[in-house]
């Protein structure tokens, strides 16, 4: 036991002390901050494009539709319309003028309303902000509303009543319904799921490779023989996996804890300072900042536990395979080739991250989250997206436990023989023979 601890201690301390580890561990939260806050900031910038949201509305309907659109856009809108009423024949000239304004950056864009708009067929918008989804949605709704109002007036409705009748803004509140009941909608949950899966994938690859390199280092430097003259190779292997796994868990823990803190403390503070600076102040500003906060992923404790548990099992599985590979080769360049089967399993898992994230309840997703080699990435991701039935979690955990036991048995045997074999890399047939050595 004391020897196992000595090995774990060496593997752990030698890595935690390196500059690389410190930098990577500190950089993680910074990256997380960038990934979560930047999109939110960009979004808030887009919404707060009030100062630059000047657009020209060219009204060639002759029915005052432009004025209705201006009214429908309202004064809390980030789009600042300037109305230009023209005769139907003068549309081309007005368009030309508006276009040169846009090119000259005096305006963001221009909207052309004509008889076709009045019929409900089409309106034309040209500008630099056509890709800004919120602005375009708002403009589209305003036009719909204006056309509706114009038609109602044409049907003989009282103009005063039209205004009050068309002033509709239903807020769609989203609640996710699952087997376990209602859950608060996380707008960022898909992002969270992807983040969880990629984080696990990255850490598994990174630290699996670390185990591989560590085995190769001990083998090529020939220090392995000294060590296994004092401890059994199985103990060395176990100590190595636990020690390096400890480094990985430390890093994951720091990353998650600091990200939680950043999510709870830093991000709201950062975003609060940004939003009210826009034209929309007061109540509107507060509403907007709340809206932004809901885009930031939230971790539940259960998810963190699952994340660590699945990571540990996945790490034991992949790192023991990597260790077996490392013991059969003589150099790192040879290892790249020899590790291909292990890498294929990881890549196969990574390849389905996106399909699973988009359809977490599909058959593919359910199967991949239960297959032992992909479960460590897929199951935590699904758990962060939807409520996964208990039996699926049980099956995946059980499968992984069995697979881990098999991987450890297989690797320990290969490792024990391989560690002292130099020269030609063994063929698959020879590897099978190694398994039978006592």
């Amino acid at each position: 036991m004391g020897k196992l601890i000595a090995i774990i201690k060496r593997e752990y301390l030698e890595r935690v002390r390196t500059k690389w580890f410190v930098i990577a561990t500190l950089l993680g939260p910074v990256l997380f901050l960038a990934l979560t806050v930047l999109p939110a900031l960009f979004a808030s910038r887009t919404r707060a494009s009030a100062t630059s949201g000047n657009i020209t509305i060219i009204d060639a309907t002759g029915a005052g539709l432009g004025a209705r659109v201006v009214l429908a856009l309202g004064d809390t809108s980030t789009l600042k319309p300037t109305l230009q009423v023209v005769q139907p024949g003068a549309v081309a000239a007005a368009e030309e003028g508006a276009a040169s304004d846009v090119i000259g950056k005096k305006r963001e864009g221009y909207l052309v309303l004509d008889s076709a708009t009045l019929r409900g067929a089409k309106a034309l918008y040209a500008g630099r902000n056509t890709t800004t989804v919120p602005d375009m949605n708002r403009l589209g709704r305003a036009i719909d509303k204006a056309v509706l109002a114009a038609r109602l007036e044409g049907a003989g409705l009282d103009p005063l009543r039209i205004d009050s009748l068309t002033q509709v803004d239903v807020k769609l509140e989203k609640t996710q319904l699952t087997e376990s009941g209602r859950e608060k909608s996380g707008a960022g949950s898909t992002i969270l799921g992807l983040a969880v899966a990629f984080l696990l994938y990255m850490v598994l690859v990174l630290y699996g490779q670390t185990v591989l390199r560590s085995v190769i280092e001990e083998k090529t430097s020939r220090v392995a023989e000294v060590v296994i003259s004092s401890v059994r190779p199985e103990i060395l292997l176990a100590g190595k996996i636990i020690g390096i796994g400890g480094v990985a868990v430390t890093q994951l823990f720091v990353w998650i804890a600091s990200s939680l803190w950043i999510g709870a403390q830093v991000v709201p503070a950062l975003l609060k300072n940004r939003v009210p600076s826009g034209a929309a102040a007061g109540a509107a500003g507060a509403a907007q900042s709340v809206d932004l906060l809901s885009m930031i992923p939230t971790f539940s404790i259960g998810l963190v536990v699952a994340l660590i548990l699945y990571f540990v099992l996945g790490f034991v599985f992949y790192s023991s395979l990597y260790a077996a590979v490392g013991s059969t080769v003589n150099s790192e360049s040879e290892a790249q080739q020899a590790a291909t089967p292990v890498v294929m399993l990881l890549i196969l898992s990574a390849a389905v991250i996106q399909p699973v994230a988009l359809a977490p309840q599909s058959t593919l997703s359910v199967v991949m989250s239960m297959l032992p080699f992909s479960a460590p990435m897929m199951m935590p991701m699904r758990m962060s997206l939807v409520s996964v039935p208990f039996w699926q979690i049980a099956v995946s955990l059980l499968g992984m436990l069995v697979t881990c036991a098999a991987a450890i048995w297989f690797s320990a045997r290969i490792y024990r023989v391989g560690l002292l074999m130099y020269g030609k890399r063994p063929s698959f047939r020879e590897l099978l023979k190694w398994l039978r050595y006592s």
Binding site: G2, K3, A6, I7, R10, E14, E217, E218, S221, R222, V223, A224, E225, V226, V227, I228, S229, S230, V231, R232, L420, Y422, G423, K433, S438
Partner: protein, 321 residues
């Protein structure tokens, strides 16, 4: 308490293509310096690895200090220097040594104390430079070998096993190694080392075991081995080049089993049944001008060549040692 440090009974180790060690038995008394001799590929390293439980024998038993070698704590009393030496290159010297000591069950604080003493003794810590805080790969090859040697002895083992300890050592380190072996013996420790350089074994060992093709050829105290093989070896030197008649005598297989040209003299191994008087008479009859004719105790090297022969050296180059 057994008075044998090592008691090996009939161990065999088979690999797919060949037999590395075949029904080998040997006993090493406590406090002895014991040489395991044999050509490359004879099974020396396989034997040593089985003693250390690095590989398991297919059959046979290994007992250390009267206990099964796999019993808990038994191997902690053994120090091992493998033929292929190596340390963690990126670790500091002190940390590597502390790790190696902890693997043998020495607590950290005690290990630190011993490391300090050893580093000074091996002049790795001097007034000018403290190599203990340097990384291993900053050390020269000779210094790394010293560190490795400290690692072997740090836990004050009762049995020290050195696999080809002299390979790659410069004369100064080789001398230091010899001194250490002698000192270990003086302190009652048992030392077993393998070598294919007979001169080292002859100088240092109390007892030897010669193995070839994984089988024991002979073993016993060096003096006994030499006495048992005495009377068959003659050192002969001529004035000038030998005449054709003399050369004809030297080629007579009924008289001479083998001949080893030592430059200044010929070491002649007499054929079975032949004696030195007969050889002397034949040489004089052939008109040889003798400068030296002496019955000598055979060197271990000569015994080795006689017993193992050229075939033992060529075959069995398997790489399993």
């Amino acid at each position: 308490m057994s008075d044998l440090a090592i008691d090996i009974r009939g161990i065999t180790k088979r690999y797919a293509a060949h037999i590395a060690v075949s029904d080998l038995s040997l006993q090493v008394p406590r406090g002895a310096v014991y040489g395991l001799l044999g050509p490359n590929g004879a099974g020396k390293t396989s034997t040593i690895r089985m003693i250390l439980d690095i590989i398991a024998p297919d059959s046979g038993t290994i007992t250390l200090f009267g206990k099964k070698h796999t019993d808990a704590g038994v191997l902690d009393r053994v120090g091992y220097l493998p033929e292929e030496r190596g340390l963690y290159k990126k670790m500091k010297v002190r940390e590597v040594l502390k790790f190696l000591a902890e693997l043998k069950g020495i607590p950290g604080a005690e290990a630190d104390k011993r490391i300090g003493t050893w580093l000074e003794r091996m002049s790795l810590v001097t007034a000018e430079k403290n190599w203990g805080d340097s990384k291993v790969d900053e050390l020269s090859r000779g210094m790394q070998q010293k560190v490795q040697f400290i690692g072997t002895l740090l836990h004050d083992p009762e049995l020290v096993i050195l696999d080809e300890p002299f390979s790659g050592l410069d004369p100064i380190n080789a001398q230091a190694l010899k001194d250490t072996v002698v000192e270990l013996k003086a302190r009652g420790r048992t030392v077993i080392f393998s070598t294919h350089i007979m001169e080292n074994a002859e100088k240092l060992c109390d007892s030897v075991c010669i193995i070839a093709h994984g089988k024991k050829v002979l073993d016993g105290a060096v003096s006994d081995v030499k006495a048992a093989n005495a009377g068959h070896t003659v050192a002969v030197a001529f004035d000038g080049a030998p005449s054709p008649a003399v050369e004809a005598v030297l080629r007579d297989r009924a008289l001479i089993a083998s001949m080893d040209d030592q430059n200044r003299f010929l070491e002649i191994e007499l054929a079975p049944g032949a004696n030195s008087g007969e050889l002397l008479q034949r040489l004089i009859t052939a008109g040889a001008s003798l400068q030296r004719f002496e019955r000598v105790q055979p060197s271990l090297h000569a015994i080795f060549l006689e017993k193992v022969g050229a075939t033992g050296v060529e075959a069995g180059m398997s790489g399993h040692g």
